[in-house]
Amino acid sequence: MFTTQLLDVVTTAGVLYIVALGLLIVYGVLKIINLAHGAFLAVGAYAGVVTTGLGWNPWTALLVAFVIGVAGAALVEWRVLRGLYARPMDTILATWGLNIIVVQLITLYFGREIRFAESAIGRAVNIGGATYSEYRLVLLLLAVVLGVGVWLVMQRTQIGIVARAVIMNEELAQALGINTRLVRFVTFGLGAGLAALAGALLTPLVSVHPNLGVPWLINAFMLVLVAGVSLLNLALAALVLGGAQVLVSSYGNPVLGSLTIVILAVIILRFRTITI
């Protein structure tokens, strides 16, 4: 029992981390909250449904979802967001509007019924006497790989130095000859691609429907508000708040559990005086 719950806590944290990572990257570099993040996640989830429905290897869904997410985001950044960066409130409205449009388009094409996708790994493994889903453990591993990978890129590569420079002071980065428009374009594409990738990864764990992305967006949004632009803080926030969600769902009730992250985030933000 204890082992299972411990694994639930860490794997839930891993899933939340994967979902929130793209949102944090976009928030850090572009200084906007992409409220279409949930829509890209839903697109990724349906990419999983379609590819497995076609009989393709479930792992191909990840690539398909990522490519669709990046391509869609490139179009959105180019045609919608580029003219709005000086008006942050309008970017929030525009991305939320985009979320509504995407959800409606998905509904038009796929309908409202719940769909399921085949899991790439259906096995369970025995850990410390507990039988546990191997797929969830793979997700945890993937969260670690993504987190470390993004950290290494940010810390050890010229692309990372440029991204950090834009996060710290965009005008100064421009003055040094950095094409910040290109940085924004690539970052938004990467963030949305990660959201779609997260959606495809989630499909074996959740029922897929057009509004799938909204609750995940809310939780990811809260985690990013608590974490700021730190990858490590995001991991801690996912572990603590996600862990609390699991425990409240287990010992309290699932409805309260689904609100746990939001409630805790609001409390933390209310009493926090400095960024974690």
Binding site: A165, M168, L176
Partner: protein, 237 residues
């Protein structure tokens, strides 16, 4: 000599922030291998002028020509790629990046980084010896060395420098003066120096302009008799 294209030519430049007009028809010209000082009190539009010339602020009207190209509507990164370096006045190092990371940001072709660093380190050895140190932990004078080192790393043809001497110890000012003078002499570097420190500006510049309420009210040669007195009168009034 005057037939050479100017390093920088500004004509009737107007600009500012939102509803506030700061520049009111600025016209000036900087020749190749010339150090040109723009002097004026606080709030007269000096920094706004540099930012508008660099494309960081949109010009409302007028024309900016850099090294023969009309850059009036260009993005800042395109202007820098012509061979222009800009040294802003405040918060202009990335405090949380290392000295080396700050320097690397200036270069597009990193294969030349080591050679360029060696060249700049001849002027400022700390940029090499403390390359791994977080830039925000450098002293004020060392941060200014990093700024100038970063600007020179790209081997520019034109450098725009905003109040570099402010708050610096005399020894550091002397060092910066020596570096800028020698870069101009050896490489033909043109420098636009925005300053309130008339001593520093006069020690370096061949010509000057005084900016008052967004307008050039006087230009001349620093060697002219009475130039300094006239400038100081503008700075007081």
């Amino acid at each position: 000599m005057r037939s050479e294209r100017p390093a920088l030519a500004v004509e009737g430049l107007e600009g500012g922030y939102a509803d506030s007009a700061v520049l009111r028809g600025v016209t000036l010209e900087v020749r190749p291998a010339e150090i040109f000082a723009i002097l004026g009190k606080n709030g007269m539009g000096k920094t706004t002028l540099l930012k508008t010339m660099m494309g960081l602020l949109a010009a409302r009207s007028g024309r900016v020509e850099v090294l023969g190209a009309d850059v009036s509507r260009w993005a800042p990164y395109r202007i820098t790629r012509l061979g222009v370096s800009y040294v802003p006045q405040e918060k202009s190092i990335f405090q949380d990046l290392s000295v080396e990371e700050n320097l690397r940001l200036a270069l597009r072709d990193l294969s030349e980084f080591t050679a360029r660093l060696e060249a700049v380190a001849r002027w400022f050895p700390i940029l090499k010896s403390r390359r791994g140190q977080r830039a925000g932990t450098l002293s004020g004078g060392e941060q200014k060395m990093l700024l100038i080192g970063r600007a020179l790393l790209t081997r520019p043809s034109l450098v725009l420098i905003d109040e570099i001497s402010e708050g610096l110890q005399p020894a550091v000012i002397t060092k910066l003066r020596e570096v800028l003078t020698e870069e101009r002499r050896a490489r033909g570097l043109a420098i636009v120096l925005v300053e309130q420190n008339v001593d520093f500006a006069f020690a370096l510049a061949q010509r000057y302009a005084v900016l008052k309420v967004g307008t050039v009210v006087e230009t001349g040669r620093t060697a002219d008799v009475g130039a300094r007195e006239r400038i100081e009168r503008h700075l007081v009034l």
